[in-house]
């Protein structure tokens, strides 16, 4: 008794004309539903089209023009792109951004993974620990950057007094703006504090998908904790680890807020990231074309990186 219509329709046996009418009505119904679906999807289409696809085309179009902040654009391709090659700040920023990404990813991943392992198994108080580790992630990132501006400052921050008390330093250190190394370390500390709990939670969702029986079997077999980690946890967690690493590297390559607010790109442009250069080209040098050209390059690099990382992950999964 299968009918082609989605809704059950009373069947009048042997009535050919009725069946034809019904079929037509079924067609009309699915057409009506398709129209309704299109109607409900229209706002999504409008937002995605106008605010995502148009800007995506526009950024390429802008990159082919001399496009001052005020005034009329004129076609000048490929000057914006050739200028990028001669812009020494771009090279410094690109190198710094890569360095920052490597350091952040290593530190942040190690700590996030450690925290996730720590709160993996249920035991008394583990919920409180999870909440404590995650709480910094509930605060906005700009807010967290401002918090660390004070926390790490030599003016009112508690870090210098504590270290002096412990005898680790002799005089107050200007962590944020004192030296390029200090500025980098300050930023990595801030990012680790703000994002470790966030990544811990993603890793935890992966960890909890591992069957408890596997751990019990490993314990029966007398596996050490290190063996369990290497033979069970890490292999089964690989997809989640890959996801977390992709999110971390992408986020770090696009870093902006922490440098703009905490280090202001200094000292001496030593912590100027690529996205900071994009903003500087647009709103300090008033050259939107050059800013767009840099945007297109960053976009391409990240797209390639994401595709490579994803296909690498896919292949690992198939094995």
């Amino acid at each position: 008794m299968q009918t082609t219509t989605a809704a059950p329709v009373a069947r009048a046996p042997g009535d050919a004309a009725g069946a034809g009418r019904r079929r037509k009505r079924a067609g009309g119904r699915s057409r009506r539903r398709a129209l309704a679906g299109l109607g409900y999807a229209a706002p999504t289409a409008a937002v995605v089209g106008l605010l995502f696809l148009v800007p995506l085309v526009l950024v390429v179009w802008m990159s082919l023009h001399h496009w001052p902040l005020l005034g009329n654009p004129t076609f000048n391709a490929p000057k914006n792109y050739t200028d990028v090659a001669h812009n020494t700040l771009v090279a410094t920023a690109a190198w710094f951004t890569v360095k920052y990404t490597v350091v952040t990813t290593v530190v942040l991943f190690t700590i996030s993974f450690g925290l996730a392992l720590m709160v993996q198994h249920p035991r008394p108080g583990v919920g409180l620990l999870r909440t404590a580790f995650f709480l910094p992630a509930a605060v906005g990132f700009a807010t967290a950057s401002l918090l660390f501006l004070g926390f790490l400052s030599s003016a009112i921050g508690p870090v210098n007094p504590v270290l002096e008390h412990l005898g680790l330093i002799n005089a107050p250190v200007d962590w944020i703006t004192g030296s390029p190394g200090g500025a980098l370390a300050s930023t990595v500390t801030l990012v680790t504090w703000r994002f470790a709990g966030f990544n811990m939670l993603i890793l935890l969702t992966g960890l909890q998908a591992i069957p408890v029986e596997l751990y019990e079997a490993a314990r029966m077999d007398g596996c050490s904790r290190w063996q369990t980690l290497r033979r069970i946890t890490i292999p089964l967690l690989r997809p989640t680890i890959a996801l977390v690493l992709i999110v971390m590297t992408t986020g770090s390559l696009l870093a902006f807020d922490q440098f703009y607010i905490l280090t202001k790109g200094g000292p001496d442009d030593s912590t100027t990231s690529v996205v900071m250069v994009i903003v500087r080209e647009a709103f300090v040098r008033f050259d939107l074309g050059s800013s767009a050209a840099l945007s297109v390059l960053v976009l391409l690099v990240l797209l390639v990186l994401n595709v490579v990382q994803l296909s690498f992950l896919r292949r690992r999964e198939e094995k």
Partner: protein, 272 residues
């Protein structure tokens, strides 16, 4: 032998709770310090920093109103667009469905600092330069991949019988959505709303690019502006008062809606 094993287990437990507890304190310390620093005065404790913060620039009321406006528009816009979109993707078949869904998810693949410069130009053409509505529209777009994905999954999980019985009762598709379906997908609505709220309330970068007069500044822009406006010496305690002021609603909402938050995470993490 029994006793040594108990002793060893107790020592291990002590080690675990010692390490974990110390780490937890380390993570909570900056938050607690910020609250403490914001009420410190040269002569003890008081609310002088909060008084400074309230009277900063155009007055904190202006920035708070701007922030609330952007946040309300972003949350309402994200919910409206993703609710209808999720309904369409989850329950209907129409031409271009898969293409539109992929285009929506593709927003995630494009790093958002790279399309803010063209968005700045585009909003200028639309007469939305330096406008809170323009900023909110952009924030809705950035929320859409996650929101649409979550909504579509929730609508897909609604049993067919429920939709059928609404149809039998004579409901049109829209009435079915507002009378029946919306109650079933309520958890997704809470999660999407929470994420949109946190994103809009805390957004710094998009606001920095798209807003350029201080009467339009949102709270994060205004507080960061405080940092730069005082020449030479930064007024750190007032900054920390601003930090506390911005952080409290987020911490409160997170603790209240922790479950919705974690659910959002799971669905986001599983996309990998």
């Amino acid at each position: 032998m029994m006793t040594t094993r108990t002793a060893r287990r107790r020592a291990a437990g002590l080690g675990y709770y010692g390490t974990a507890g110390a780490l937890a304190i380390l993570f909570l310390l900056p938050l607690a310090w910020s609250g403490w620093a914001s009420v410190r005065t040269p002569h003890g404790f008081g609310l002088a920093s909060y008084r400074n913060m309230i009277h900063y620039g155009d007055g904190i009321g202006t920035y708070l109103r701007n922030s609330l406006e952007v946040t309300a528009m972003t949350v309402a816009g994200t919910l409206a667009v993703s609710l209808l979109g999720g309904y369409a993707f989850g329950r209907f078949r129409f031409p271009g469905k898969n293409l539109l869904f992929l285009a929506t998810l593709a927003i995630l693949m494009v790093p958002y600092p790279t399309i803010l410069i063209p968005l700045y130009v585009l909003l200028g053409w639309l007469g939305l330069q330096n406008s809170l509505a323009g900023l909110a529209a952009v924030l809705v777009m950035f929320q859409l991949p996650f929101a649409t994905f979550l909504m579509r999954n929730s609508f897909e999980a609604v049993p067919q019988e429920l939709e059928d019985s609404a149809a039998v009762d004579g409901c049109g598709t829209f009435t079915a959505l507002t009378r029946v379906m919306i109650h079933v997908v309520r958890p997704a609505v809470v999660t999407v709303g929470l994420f949109a709220f946190l994103a809009a309330w805390n957004e710094f970068f998009a606001a920095l690019i798209l807003l350029n007069s201080s009467d339009k500044f949102t709270l994060p822009l205004a507080v960061v502006d405080m940092e730069g406006r005082t020449f030479g010496s930064i007024d750190y305690p007032t900054l920390q008062a601003g930090v506390v002021f911005m952080a409290i609603p987020c911490l409160f909402l997170f603790l209240l809606l922790q479950r919705s938050y974690v659910r959002g995470f799971m669905s986001g993490a599983l996309r990998g």
